[in-house]
Symmetry: D2
């Protein structure tokens, strides 16, 4: 890969520094991280966060591994392209705390991008600056339990102007990051103009500070039994939540524009982290297959039947998927996120399925170890499984890709008609 | 199916009674069950069990829905064939507490079968009777964390004769049911004669009463984050655990014989319950696809693109898999478990993968709902995923099926040689 | 299988006789068959047929292996059920000339069924009798090149009443059997009343004797390069073809009724023959994998990596598919073809894909041999590939199966509502 | 793609010129090509070749579209890198006569590379020059019917020194290009030193001019019924064929070295042409799905159920596979074919399977049209199916890829041990 996409010396150096940080700081901190959170089900579960993450953040900042995700078209960032960041992002994906440790984790990155792109000076000063410094965290409140949110026009939360305020009412769930005590703000998507005939102008996005009266965290949503604390994916209610009118982002009715502007890079980040996770899963598989204490019927597991085949399949699938994501990242750099939408959609569909297939193969060779808490594999499976649903289910993106192809048909009919005429002329001469 | 396998009027009646019991007693009790267990992580988690299960057991016994699993070749049982029970077992599989409610749940069924088949009169009186009455529960302690247990000859726990006792030492994990406070005995597999040159005569199976000094429960093994309480899949240590010599089953060195004799019907039970689970998952999918509150882009989910395809795939896969299991059950009845080994192996390989594919499709149409605690789908996925590993991983059974086929080759070579000679003679006459 | 479906002694005997006939008469005659047809491309190609087939037919008739396909609800036949015939049909499927040798081959079987079911006494005497005696052959002319025939209402051939005659005009293709010089009649589907507002009453089926003026055979359609002579799948034109009005079957406007009544058993026959073909392909694979002259890197092919896995996959897929077909056959017997439609559709979708996957695995282990004329594998692949298209493409049947499932949703909503109410009541009592 | 791999202006221009040539000269000539060959089975079949191909060659040469395949490390070629040629090669793959029309077709390219790389001055003058000028064609005679040639050490043809000559004896098959009357030479692989203890030094490659006494063409091997005339894949016998000793390439015993040096670029060419074929198949599919004359049940085929899904799948699979091949091509350029072996192997495994899946989807939407001679789809399927076998079956390459991964395990064990020590130290500090 390095050969094809020819990283600059600066990026090569970042990759080395980041890789060492992830392998020898973050991964060894995983066990500490889990020990520093209160146990699942306990009253303290959602009131603390692991101290080790702040230590890692300080080190990452000192190493220059900070906010690397922010693309070079934002002056606030370190100036990397999406393609350059993609390779770094894969490295982060190997460890589930590395992205946060480098201030590159969702949903903060997407929220920072919204503020950088659409926020006014006051909003930036108040929220973007501390987010970029890693002093606070944030959440994006969009999905709702009562409707099919994969069609965002279904969203029902209301955002109603009342004097100098807006009043927010609604129920949300799967609000990632809302469990973290450091979460200081919610970007809330809702309807400010539900009767607008343009269904894509009914929505607004507004900043709701955590702690505003009327916000209730109902419960954590579990992912296959995992609560993902301290981050959490919370169900929450906004009941007559009143915020200053100046918290409105970009203006009433521009909510759709905002959520669409937010999605391109974030999808690529998820994909590249999934590829990092897949690579680590494959490494676990390789270790198990060659573990001399795991012989059966006199052979290493890797010497049996189709074991090498499984490894080869994973290698081929990972490599193809990575190239697809890098292509999308490059396309975003060259043509902008909107024109890269189809390439992004392909990555978004291909990668999560690939990732969980690869992880599942690794699980299988670990037997009982694979599905339990002794390896990160089952947790990796669960978290990456949600990517087939999050930010629009596979089906929606696949349909879009199919329709993009079908739109080529008109030009193809002309092209084939021309070929056909030439064919007939040539045959007629025989 | 009913048409093909022509259940008797008695079985038809049992199916109806059982179905009503599962649908309108057990399934409505699921929520009660979960509320009656102490929360995960709490100190009480493994000290209680839900009262509702005992209520259900009493009702099942009164309805004659009791010990139905026990095949007709054991005088202690209700006299159903494996094939007859299979259809009933599928119904139980629709609800994760129905099997226990009817005293048909693993690992008790396998343990009861061991005692019925290999136990002496004293052992039967002491352990089989209360198990069949549902007064106690049991566990089978075989798998070990330190070795590749899919090759059972690797097992290292020692069972050493010392006077009138045996002394057991070893570490086990994934001991299903060991978390339940009602678990009164462990059947422990270990080596009593590790230097025997016959690798399949080194092992014994011995009864270890719960509460015997030296037994320590280390921790629950989690399956994708689920602890499956109160049942549990525990890691445990046997440290100088001393039991009477009369607790030895069948005699020293006969452990392999016992574990093999135990596996046939149990595998079919797992398969049929998995099919019941798959059917219920498909029903959830059908409900979601036709839920008027879940429209996207103006259509029911089931009216979009390939939604009906997914449903059809699940239907075809479930039906094929069920037929395969019923065939194996029938084969066990007619030819005995040993000669049905290949048919059983096919069911064992096909069903779990089918089941999780079907559940995964159901998860996908539920979006966030699918992976979380609001539907049983994610939990069903996790539990059925383990079936690809438990009782020997898919790879071992697939290899056995392949080798069985390859053994046909010799006869085929003769057959083809005969055809070839006839062909040559026929062509020569032209 | 035998165990489950318990064939009667009569059927057991037929199976043995048929199997010997197929293995030691038909298969050795394959090479003779091909040598007795004029070479592809030659002028004689479509004017002759192999003499050996008539020899085989005589022997089959003498052995009582004749018209076995005709279900027991037709007095003209030998009285087997669809289920009983299914196992015999599988045996025939092992050899591409066995079905014709026993007068059980398509499209004659379907055409005989039409005549037996819908023909009047005169039509039966004139056409059904010689067909059942194997003296003539027939074709069914439905598919048209100019329209999407998978929606049969698109068919454009016209059948116009003119005095005591009907006049047929239209272009047909894929008319199987039309290449055979013994083909004596066409059952032609066309529109007799194109303006009928009921789209399923516009069509009629009429008998057109071969040799009637105005019939032109245009060309053979090739299937992956094979012309399937002498049978052939022909493109043909009917130009002002005049036949007596008495040749109309069942009456004007009843064409749809006729084609639907014709399809059930025929689909099962195709499926069972495909299973026979798959079994033979698997046997070729087993032979190759154990062929001592084909060692690579010091091992038999079957001893390498995943070779046994491939064999096991084929075994599991064949066995599941067979059970599905037998279920459909049984369902037809018990409930009639119409009510068995869904089971038949499942078999129709599952079997061809299974069959070509199995054959493809066999091809792969044969290397160059697999794709060429030295083994029947490539030809078997091509012929079975067409089954995913013929009699309605997979997509149409899959959609039907999906919709049948979705129709269950209404009852499920009620059922779940009842469970839900019970759950709420139970929880409320806690 | 263009964005990522940034073609130079020269290559951009070549792509445009080549694309026009393929679309509007070669594709319209396909029908002419087939009409200008004698019919299959006829005596003339293998004695002529279509005149149109020579017309196309002249035009291609005039346009500078000639020998583009020859990599820039050979002074005889046009100076393109493997990566640059790859994109051009894809364009050629859209039409089965375009590669020959531009003197870029197998096996000539591989044979020219052997002569350019290993030939001496005399051999180059006599054979390489006319091959590069397109005046003659050639074949490579390696595979043998009697042994498993996927292990090349099994080859049995003998090449025996006798005075100033070598005498060749052996039977070969699948000798591609040997059917063409323009084929002027065979590069024959055989054993010159069968008793050499080094199994990879037993073989030699020698030039055998066509027409040398003792060469007999036995028959064309059919691929799914296609003979691929005039090219052909012939079975042939070398019986006491005597050639000058100076025809030996590189020296006795260096046959393995030669065949390995020949394979890298050729595999990439096959892959890129397969991708071109897949793209064209997808275009046929798009046309059919949007063809207003092919409506069923009132809708375009592309508006039904999962039709858009199939298109999207093909798009995603093609794009991933292409990126994998381009990576391998780039790797060959940067590191040489030998070090790119693993990347090449991945492309070699992934592409043919992808290609036939894509073509099969296109076939399916065409119904009967898809499998017959009216579209090139079935032929494309057959030809690309052989790529899973040719130049080593998938299984061999997959095993190599798996083993390459497994070789990483040793370093991974060290890496994980280091992480583990750090983890333990960190946890100990808590």
């Amino acid at each position: 890969m390095a050969d094809i996409f020819a990283p600059s010396p600066r990026v090569e150096k970042l990759k080395k520094t980041l890789s060492d940080f992830v392998e020898f700081d973050c991964i060894p901190a995983e066990a500490v991280f889990h020990k520093q959170i209160a146990p699942p089900g306990s009253a303290e579960r959602w009131k603390t966060f692991p101290a080790v993450i702040e230590t890692l953040k300080a080190k990452a900042k000192a190493l220059g591994l900070w906010n690397l995700w922010m693309p070079n078209y934002y002056p606030e960032g370190p100036g990397l392209t999406n393609l350059e960041y993609a390779s770094l992002c894969e490295i982060m994906g190997r460890c589930h705390i590395a992205a946060e440790a480098t201030n590159c984790s969702a949903p903060d990155t997407g929220n920072m991008e919204v503020l950088a792109k659409y926020g006014n000076a006051e909003q930036k000063a108040k929220w973007l600056v501390p987010l970029m410094e890693g002093r606070i965290r944030s959440a994006f409140a969009m999905t709702e339990p009562a409707v099919a949110s994969s069609d965002a026009t279904n969203i029902e939360t209301s955002i109603v102007r009342d004097g100098d305020s807006y009043v927010v009412n609604g129920r949300k769930w799967w609000i990632s990051g809302a469990g973290d005590p450091r979460c200081a703000l919610f970007l809330v998507m809702g309807k400010s103009d539900p009767s607008n005939t343009n269904k894509h102008r009914q929505q607004s996005v507004i900043i709701v500070p955590a702690g505003t009266p009327g916000i209730t965290i109902i419960r954590p949503m579990l992912v296959f039994g995992y609560d993902d604390a301290p981050h959490g994916h919370m169900e929450m209610v906004f009941k007559d939540v009143r915020v200053p009118a100046s918290n409105m982002i970009l203006g009433e009715g521009r909510g759709f524009e905002i959520i669409q502007g937010r999605l391109g890079p974030g999808r690529i980040h998820h994909c590249m982290r999934a590829i990092g996770a897949a690579e680590r899963a494959l490494e676990f598989q390789l270790l198990r297959l060659t573990d001399p204490s795991r012989k059966t019927f006199g052979k290493l597991l890797g010497q049996h039947g189709s074991a090498a085949d499984g490894v080869a399949q994973s290698r081929m699938e990972i490599d193809q998927a990575r190239l697809l994501v890098l292509r999308a990242a490059r396309s975003m750099d060259v043509r902008g996120p909107k024109d890269a939408m189809n390439e992004i959609a392909m990555a978004k569909v291909v990668v999560p399925s690939m990732c969980i297939r690869v992880i599942d193969r690794a699980i299988q060779v670990h037997g009982g170890g694979g599905v339990c808490q002794d390896f990160p594999l089952a947790n990796m499976y669960a978290m990456n499984r949600t990517l087939k649903i999050a930010d629009g289910p596979d089906e929606v993106h696949t349909m879009q890709i199919g329709k993009t192809e079908l739109r080529r048909a008109r030009a193809l009919h002309d092209h084939f008609a021309k070929q056909d005429a030439l064919t007939k002329a040539a045959v007629a001469k025989l």
